[in-house]
């Protein structure tokens, strides 16, 4: 019973030329060609608004946050907590204290595993993942399972790399946690998170969502998704590297033990032990990524001004354009992995081009200024389902338009000529 949930229809439009003008790196030339950046699924580029926010913070405001009475420290604290509020609004969180700043989404998922998982999972329990997952949502569970002895189960995939939910009720039987991607970073499949969350909750399981590829690209409301935990990274959504977010329901966070220990996460420390701080600080040991939070705050405000419905609509159109024009141009030479319907995909296209190895393909495309990513995309179990060692992956975002897809097509044609297959 393959299925993928169609996101809500949207009508707003995006002014891509205006966005492009906001992103300075797009003015760069690579090998004397216009930069055609098609690797935003790995990491996006960022607009001046984000760069300026961080630069301005360091130039005018920086001091360590919390527990200082002077003006700079108070302003820095306000900047950090203001960003937390912006991020909370962006994903529909009820309370900014539910936003935990981490290093990246990987650390956010590790936090769930090491804190909630270690406290709640036992031998005989089960955690359910899918074969679409990024290694960041596989390895932390494997590490923990090796210590605690719980079982890891896998939701299988259909041929078009959507979830095969035929046996979902049996799979969920006895499961304590479903941890699942909301959108595949390799093939773009958008998973039916809400439906899965309802089924998981009925089965008594909690739901952790790897939303790394979802939050940057689709309107996100954590309660509408039915998530209990949700992780994403700043650098994939116009923000800086070095910051990620774990959102979780407040009652869960309250019950969970701290993850990393150190300064900032305590209420009191004595020779006998410590008392953890209130949320969100309980999970933010050490000096937090303050400038990065400021940058992420600017990024979500920028995205909110564009309108996430418009972002989604733009990406569906571009995906449809890419799939149809490139298929028309290259026919059987081009194999696009994943769902055929652009409406159930994100702006990520993994493909094979003739018998050209993705690494070689990417090298030739680079000569044309076209950045795509070859490899297993940190999803080796999915690679095995697809029956390939690696794919070439192009991905687009708010600053890409049809001309970038055309440039990809032209570069592919040149690559085909170069290797004369």
């Amino acid at each position: 019973m393959p299925m993928a949930e169609r996101p809500p229809a949207v009508t707003d439009t995006l002014d891509v030329d205006a966005v492009r003008a906001d992103v300075p790196i797009l003015g760069r030339r690579i090998h004397d060609r216009r930069l055609v950046f098609l690797d935003s699924a790995a990491s996006s580029q960022r607009p001046t608004a984000v760069l300026d926010a961080m630069d301005d913070y360091y130039r005018t405001t920086h001091a360590n946050v919390h527990r200082a009475a002077y003006t700079l420290a108070e302003e820095a604290t306000n900047a950090l907590e203001g960003a937390r509020g912006d991020v909370a609004n962006f994903i529909g969180a009820a309370d900014p204290a539910e936003i935990i700043f981490t290093k990246n989404a990987t650390e956010a998922i590790n936090l769930v595993a090491r804190s909630w998982g270690a406290a709640n999972l036992r031998h005989g329990d089960a955690v359910l993942l899918s074969q679409l997952e990024h290694h960041a949502n596989i390895v932390p569970w494997q590490q923990l399972a090796a210590e605690l002895g719980f079982e890891i189960r896998w939701i299988p995939l259909t041929e078009d790399a959507t979830l095969d939910l035929g046996d979902i009720e049996q799979l969920l039987d006895g499961v304590k946690l479903l941890s699942i991607t909301a959108m595949s970073n390799v093939v773009g499949t958008i998973t039916p998170v809400r439906r899965l969350a309802d089924l998981a909750h009925q089965a008594g399981a909690l739901v952790c969502v790897d939303a790394c590829q979802f939050v940057p690209h689709l309107p996100t409301d954590v309660s509408a998704l039915g998530a209990d935990f949700l992780a994403f990274s700043g650098h994939k959504m116009l923000g800086p590297t070095g910051i990620g977010v774990l959102w979780a329901r407040r009652d869960l966070l309250d019950e969970m033990p701290p993850f990393l220990g150190g300064g900032g996460m305590i209420l009191d420390v004595s020779l006998d032990g410590f008392v953890p701080a209130e949320l969100p600080h309980k999970f933010e040991a050490g000096t937090p990524p303050i400038a990065e939070a400021v940058g992420l705050g600017a990024a979500v405000r920028y995205l909110s001004e564009l309108g996430m419905a418009a972002v989604r609509s733009h990406e569906v159109e571009l995906t449809r354009y890419a799939m149809s024009t490139l298929t028309e141009r290259f026919g059987d030479k081009l194999t696009i992995h994943g769902p055929a319907d652009a409406g159930v995909r994100g702006g990520v296209m993994s493909f094979a081009f003739g018998d050209l190895h993705p690494h070689d393909l990417s090298q030739v495309l680079d000569q044309h200024g076209v950045c795509i990513r070859p490899g297993h995309h940190c999803a080796k179990p999915l690679m095995r389902v697809l029956g390939v060692g690696a794919t070439a992956r192009a991905s687009w975002y708010v600053y890409n338009d049809e001309s970038d897809i055309d440039a990809l097509g032209d570069a592919l044609a040149e690559a085909g000529d170069f290797f004369t297959f």
Binding site: G375, G389, A390
Partner: protein
Amino acid sequence: MSGLEDLYREIILDHYRSPRNRGELPSPPAHRVEGFNPLCGDEIVVYVEVDDAAKGDAAVVSDIRIGGQGCSISQSSASMMSAAVKGHTVGEIRDLTRSFKSMMSIHEEGLEGGEVDDPGEADALELGDLEALRGVVKFPVRIKCATLSWNTLAQGLDEAAAATT
């Protein structure tokens, strides 16, 4: 695309399209070693048969086969390597490996404590066709592709030697 033609020399593409010594050997007696390039997912399997491995560097690699999958650089390097080493002694092959890695700008002196002969003098085996891979140096991310099979073979030779002790 002159830059690309430095990388993808015709002989490289020839070895990529028609790889030499492709296949498997029964193991044992051959040693089967897998190599991975975690960056790009390339996987290589080297089957190496060493006659009289107890002779150490004087032992002869009587046969070699290459399996796995990868990009044109890793596959052609493996193919050329297999052709270059077959029938030669372990000592000669180790020297050739050092010469090849030196061409790839990888100098092992730092890793192995300075006991490496000058590759220029020690060249019992010529790099020959392997010279075609020289252009890879200009594309640093691809050096790992070119050296994958060599590192895997070195591991196989080590295992063959260790198995006799």
